[in-house]
């Protein structure tokens, strides 16, 4: 009898703890802003706040280049800006069909979806069908991998999601005009849903080899009609086929045949 009493008591307590835990989990999504949805950004070419369409790369005035970074800017041949060249571009996303990396992935004129859970926020891009995880309330790895999209951890500060990212592969460009960075790039983002239709990402880029002091960028996105996400996966075969048809260039390697 006594044994049964304690068994019943443990069951009740266990159930209460389980329900309590569930209750806390259920409240979490409501205690922070909801960033989820499908979002589309403005068409820009540069993260420079004073020169978003990249009319004067290298001399924008708001980007504190080191001599090394300025040299990089002068050496690259982007496919946009005042000296745009497509045929001889050095843009790694075009020349090698490399992933855009981050934050450039968000500059494409394509949509991304945000999926939000209590443990992480995910960005899912149509372009290259790529994705990024922002782990919440966790420290960075002791030795983060060097990767296209970096390693991102975040926490909520009031209504703002503050994201700390490191471990970026240095072969990516920050934006289509070619702002460079090193593997030591440390990026802080402050993400806010400023109104139901608008999401703002404020960036601070800290990379002492490339920039003499941290500098700021901003991307703004508008909420899109919820619908089915499409796919735009871009391969080197697609690129060479495009060049063959539009520029009459002979593919340097075998390419996929057929229309699709």
């Amino acid at each position: 009898m006594r044994k049964r009493f304690w068994q019943a008591a443990f069951c009740v307590l266990g159930l209460a703890a389980f329900v309590s835990g569930c209750s806390k989990e259920a409240k979490k999504p409501n205690s922070v802003p909801d960033l989820s949805g499908i979002w589309l950004g403005k068409p820009i070419q540069s993260l420079s706040l004073s020169d978003p369409m990249a009319a004067r790369p290298g001399t924008e005035g708001d980007i504190p280049y080191t001599p090394w970074a300025l040299q990089q800017m002068k050496a690259e041949r982007p496919a946009t800006g005042p000296n745009a060249t497509f045929e001889n571009t050095t843009d790694p996303a075009l020349k090698y069909a490399d992933p855009d990396g981050y934050p450039r992935a968000s500059i494409h004129p394509m949509r991304f979806k945000i999926v939000q859970t209590p443990a992480a926020v995910y960005q899912l891009w149509e372009y290259d069908k790529s994705w990024r995880e922002i782990s919440l309330n966790k420290p960075h790895s002791q030795v983060p991998d060097i990767s296209w999209f970096g390693e991102s951890v975040g926490k909520w500060e009031g209504d703002t999601l503050v994201v700390d990212s490191i471990g970026f592969k240095d072969s990516t460009w920050l934006d289509p005009i070619g702002h460079p960075h090193t593997e030591n790039l440390h990026m802080i983002e402050r993400i806010q849903r400023v109104d139901p239709e608008t999401l703002v990402f404020d960036f601070a880029f800290d990379d002492p080899k490339a920039y003499t002091k941290p500098w700021s960028g901003q991307l703004t996105f508008k909420l899109q009609t919820d619908g089915i996400m499409t796919e735009n996966i871009y391969t080197i075969s697609d690129e060479l086929k495009f060049r063959q048809r539009f520029l009459n260039e002979k593919p340097s390697i075998p390419i996929r045949t057929g229309q699709q």
Binding site: P43, E87, E126, N232, F246, L247
Partner: protein
């Protein structure tokens, strides 16, 4: 007007209609280095191929020039995900469709262009 005349009417004519400030909405391909964004040309022709592909949708069009010579045009549109947001889908065009297409011409003078908009025979406009 008989159908032959209608077809010839649709196929006739190439003319420069406007100049525009370049806005590199999709610098990914083409863009200012391949196309003269300050010019727009309009051609009436017939779709021979509509490729709903990456990195960019391609449309080939046969059209007669002002001398009556048949020219084979190749046009670059934006990417499928971008076009979906503007009402396109993979069946928006088909070989044989008569269209009026406005585009930024190639800087090299070749028969390629960056599409600005097109109007189908039923009046449907796609951008």
């Amino acid at each position: 007007m008989n159908s032959k005349c209608q077809t010839r009417g649709l196929l006739a004519g190439v003319f420069v209609i406007a100049t525009l400030t370049a806005i590199p909405l999709f610098a990914h391909h083409g863009g200012t280095s391949l196309y003269d964004m300050s010019k727009q040309v309009t051609v009436n022709g017939t779709v021979t191929e509509f490729l709903w592909i990456n990195p960019h949708v391609e449309i080939t069009v046969d059209a007669h020039d002002e001398k009556g010579l048949l020219r084979h045009w190749l046009f670059e549109e934006s990417s499928p995900p971008v076009l979906v947001n503007h009402g396109w889908n993979r069946k928006s065009l088909a070989a044989g469709d008569a269209i009026k297409v406005t585009f930024n011409p190639s800087r090299k003078g070749t028969y390629v262009g960056r599409m600005v908009k097109l109007i189908k025979a039923d009046g449907t406009e796609l951008k």
